[in-house]
Symmetry: D2
């Protein structure tokens, strides 16, 4: 997480002010439940809310840090500072709880906050993709496999394909959000030895979480591993879209380009450059987010009821993964939204390969006309290879190949070289992706 | 995937006989749909089933391999061999389809077959965990955080914790199975240019898959990335359970042991050894399965409508990840099922630390009695540190500490040192995990 | 490691016949040293060599496997089978040694054997790169940054860049080979309690290894982690070269192509296709080899003097990583060797962008002529952007820009558009890479 | 890189003030070389040094940031700010260079600075390990394989083993430092088209780097991949040592403990706790550093002469990996230095298992006395298993086993149970690690 790749709302989730605020809410809600159970005085719970329900200012945070430097324990430092405000009833705070009750439940809240921002980001990406898909539904362009011209598709289909992928991303993130949205207020080893399970139920409800079925001082880390794994998968989808744009912007292809602002400089040395730097950047950010997946998985196998080795990992990848992916998704939405599509180059590229892209249709027509598949393949390939070698366009060559014309007459051959044939089912696919309405 | 860590049923999924059989089913079902559409003769479809609906023997596979060595294309080799059996109507097979329609749909079938075996494996792990959890529901043992004695738990709670974790594993795998269970019969770039979408719908239905909303010659690889990521998370849960057993079997702990068969040798050099080799092995296998996660994610960003770089990765990690995890889960179920629990050592370890594990309860009692939290902590800690240094047991020391006895009398202190206090909520937790019935 | 991506010599290193042969050599050399020390009879050592110095046939291997199935310990099984041949003196074999003395020293031998094959592979890649570099030393082609035309380079420089990179790969592999080439014959916890250090020194020397300074039953795994990390870096270099070829073969670029054999089929559906399938395959194989790096690193932190969790990892990644990289390097050498370079397309691409590639040189000439850098940038960029938009070639546009011509006259401008300017230092670079001789 | 896990000197390397200072030095040294070549006036080079050779204050950095926000190009922003100070001769700065000449050479300097700090850190770890190794050279303690008691070692041997490992770490880091210590001043695509190679040679020499043989606008990223891979291996060695301490501090083992400061609190809930939190923390930090390895490897395969996808990765992992490892190594040195070793517990643990640890020596003595290896194993194992089951100590049991006493008399048996036997070669090992002097 570096400022260059951070957006304020996501970064704020990981700042001390938010963290301590969540800690306070956990403790205060727990006090309410404890008071209801008669474990602590109702007045104590009320005093906690009254004195403590206020923001954590820079001054308060500095005070907590100072205490922590001395006692070397963050939750104790937090509680000590809170006691300054609450006074005598503070001794009822944190009754029967252990630090991890606060830390892990807080992390659950932070991750759900982060997930909510990421879901908004995905919605923005989806909205941009849908708009561009509908805009270019019938913009016929070359489809490529292996980087080699294959058969025509449409720009709209490209956008639709990514839309479907990011809808899956959304579904996965929603599931991952649910996976981490649990609350543990279960004490030192999760037995509720010194705290009633009702406290956990109350705090969970207040914070929009569900109670963790079995915690062991901590919430089990398979939940977090799954969460960060899903971020890694989403980042990989970001990379796929970024890679598509980078390819389309290559000088020789140039079917689309990232928006290039007036006054922007592409290169300090070469004034002619317009580089796809945003999508190259996204490619790198995807690598970073993926890099956090395995450490999160290594965090699962903690020792016995818990060890704390996961903590340093999460202090880093919690912010880093969510902030970086948030930035990447926001950038991606902008790239899609403002992508410049070059219709003329698209058409020029389509026509560039001398009709090679119709080779399969000729193959099929030959087999329908009674030629064996093997012979048909041979006939089409031998003419196609001549096109690659610059000896003419495919249709003309086929018309002069006696073995071909023995099976298909001129008019039939000409009829096969028809772009419209390839877009007949675009609406079917759009309905699958966007529903019947579009 | 090496024989040492393979089980036959899972390995068979990845063998040529199964692969070619699935290919045949895809082609034959597609012929039915094509015949219904009038694209090919009904007799042709019937001929395909009649001549081709039989196992792929070693002989047939060798023939396909021989053809592939020549044409350097696996699907063409497959179709050529099929044509030997089907004869003339074979030219109607694969009409309008592309190789990936077969390959990707086949992979979907193989991954769902693999997922089904893994789900069975998880069920076996869950059954063993449940049985052992109920058996040891009230076997009180030491809970440890940071490897240090904390407070008592029960062996049953340990098993219950893993049961809850492997239920999550099951849910995640079910979702991941659905993610990869799609069918694509959409042609060279996914436009259905030469094949009606109805064929895809028919084949999908026959094979228990859903049609891929947008394929681009291939099924998008974010689906597979998610699948392998989930296997990585499950492997990490395997590692957690394996690590727990390894710790419990340590010479100094020895609360549980892997079953050691009569006649087994633990070490070629040291005849006295009984090592937790199964769970050490599982720890290593978890690393291996995790190692496949990032390559699967790197497979997502293919170029344009597809490139084939994912293929070599999947040829290796498809079998390797599923076979290894299948072996690991089966081994794990056995370890849990046969785990030897040493009740006496468990009790001895509980009593070993001079009552230190009751420190929190004393702390809370002091605060309830009006001592400030900070003072209470100080009082308990100073006596606890003496216990660490071998100067006596905690209860005796507390009874001689005037500041403590000023707040709590002897009987009260004695009453705090009660194991039963720690197991009051075991049933609550068991109900969360296993439901009301247990 | 699957047959499709295996070559016989590397695969043989990991087969039982080679493994057991190395085990025998370790035991037999150890017997010699033990006999020299007077620990065992000289006749016993002689008997071991006489009866045991022969290949491990399939029959012998099956016998060992059968014993292992019973005793569940591979080294004991091996020793038992050896005893069948050696007879009574067999009881002197393995005196004071532990299984890991055999296993770890064997792995060291296998990894050095593998490294030697990989070094040969690298030499073949280097030879092909050097030949093509010299062949195309002055084949001027477009250099591209960000996928966008930048300034001219030569095809020879591309090859030279990879040559320098693979020379670094060779250096790293040599260092990594030395890192794993150690021998441990130090007993159950590495103290030489029951075996003299002189045995280790003797065996190490006979096998071309160095004695491990401190072993702890096992050779420390940081050595192996470093080895597999280096394989991952080399695989990444393979991917860079593969990616270059894939880009050059794109339909729109088509400056080079993988060799396409007569009779080869690019696509079952589209007879016109010639796809860069070898380099796409290499891209995937690189992902696989990288996937083994982190598991190898996770193997380092074993418990106390050793645990065996590394073993299952190494049984898989030992063969998989070396076999896959061996296959990849051999394939890569072939791709480079037979790469088809399309001179005409290269020249056409160079001329395609209307002289944009000379923009920096104009910029520098303007600053040399007294224009500020900022103004010069602005002047060149505004003309370059017109070229992008299809409004003419850069030289013509500059000649009509009054601000430009105020600083540079027509002849000077024309002189700047000179390809030879960009190749003046090619020889300097070639000398750095290939030495003075070329 | 978060403040919690950062040390100032390493963090400063990555701060703008250091980065811009290096950029200035590169540009100013390049001006000297350009002036020597007569490309720019000597006065211009002198003016650059005179006006620019001063620190980058917060004010200057803010000014650069403001310019960058406008022109969206960091090097141009830097040059523009520099021009403010240098005035008219500033137009001669950066002549013929491209941004990457500055950025990549700067990164090389930063990584060598970072490597130098890490080498110092390693020296501190090595010094602590050596001191403790010599201190505990003959502190006999239990050696454990698989977490199970094996045979005696000494605490000194443990430290010596880590010393040897961190010496390898040092060697690897030195080699990795050399790998990244190259300078590229070669222009837009590395052809020196607009700048003489002599400039690169001069700047390299001034900055302690070597010229990059072939750069392609950028320095090839296999160098950086190797560097970060080595950091990952070192982090794994940190984890091994951390894991050893965590195991030794387990309540049941308690042979050593992290230093626990007076006033420190181990747990907010359980006042008795003294947890190995530093080494648990190091375990987590190791995961983090390893997580950066694969992204660094993914950075290698850039497109053609370069793309910029590596940049965002390096902006994050450059600081994060070096700062985190620096912090970890410093913490590790402290842990080793202050580790509390509990001699009494060590001795108690040694005696705990009823002499089982001498089982191998009895086995060997039996074979020396003419018993077959298989019989000897059986005899020892059947007595050892009784010890595990609490039926007595090994020596007493052996003395009552007729088959044993038939081969070995009482005195011989007693003589085998001798700890000194296991430490005879400690000096040999120490000489291998620390040289003849110790």
């Amino acid at each position: 997480m570096i400022p260059r790749y951070s957006r304020p709302a996501m970064a704020a989730i990981w700042e001390p002010a938010n963290k301590f605020r969540i800690w306070f809410l956990i403790e205060a809600h727990a006090c309410d439940a404890l008071a209801d159970l008669g474990v602590i005085p109702k007045e104590a719970a009320a005093a906690v809310w009254e004195a403590g329900d206020k923001p954590y200012t820079a001054e308060r945070i500095a005070r907590i840090d100072a205490i922590e430097a001395e006692v070397k324990h963050d939750v104790i430092a937090f509680l000590t500072e809170l006691a300054d405000h609450v006074g005598e009833p503070a001794r009822f705070v944190h009754q029967g709880m252990t630090s991890s009750d606060v830390l892990d439940t807080c992390l659950a809240v932070q991750l759900t906050q982060a997930a909510d921002l990421l879901l908004e980001d995905l919605d923005a990406v989806l909205a941009a993709l849908k708009r561009r898909a509908l805009e270019h539904r019938m913009t016929v362009c070359m489809g490529r496999s292996h980087g080699i011209h294959a058969e025509p598709v449409t720009m709209g289909l490209k956008f639709a394909s990514f839309h479907a992928e990011f809808e899956r991303a959304r579904d996965r993130l929603l599931a991952a959000r649910a996976d981490v949205a649990t609350c543990a207020i279960s004490g030192a080893v999760g037995t509720f030895a010194n705290i009633d399970p009702a406290v956990e139920v109350h705090v969970a409800k207040q914070l929009g979480l569900t109670p963790e079925p079995v915690s062991t001082q901590i919430i089990p880390r398979d939940r977090h591993a799954q969460f960060f794994a899903v971020l890694g998968v989403i980042a990989s989808s970001v990379e796929r879209l970024a890679t598509e744009v980078r390819h389309l912007q290559r000088t020789e292809v140039r079917e689309a380009e990232e928006y290039f602002a007036p006054g922007q400089k592409g290169s300090s040395a070469m004034p002619h450059k317009r580089n796809p730097v945003l999508t190259e950047n996204l490619t790198g950010l995807a690598r970073i987010v993926r890099g956090y997946v395995v450490p999160a998985m290594e965090n699962v196998a903690l020792w016995h009821e818990r060890d704390i080795s996961h903590s340093s990992v999460e202090r880093m990848i919690g912010p880093d993964a969510t902030v970086t992916l948030d930035f990447a998704l926001a950038r991606l939405a902008g790239v899609v939204d403002k992508l410049v599509v070059h219709g003329e180059t698209i058409r020029a590229n389509l026509e560039r390969m001398g009709g090679l892209v119709f080779s399969q249709r000729v193959l099929l027509a030959l087999t329908q006309a009674g030629v064996s598949r093997e012979d048909a393949y041979r006939l089409v390939q031998r003419n196609a290879m001549k096109v690659w070698d610059g000896e003419g366009d495919l249709l003309s060559l086929l018309k002069t190949d006696a073995e071909v014309t023995a099976a298909l007459d001129d008019a039939t051959l000409t009829g096969l070289f028809d772009l419209a044939h390839h877009t007949r089912h675009v609406d079917t696919i759009f309905k699958r992706v966007f529903g019947a309405a579009v």
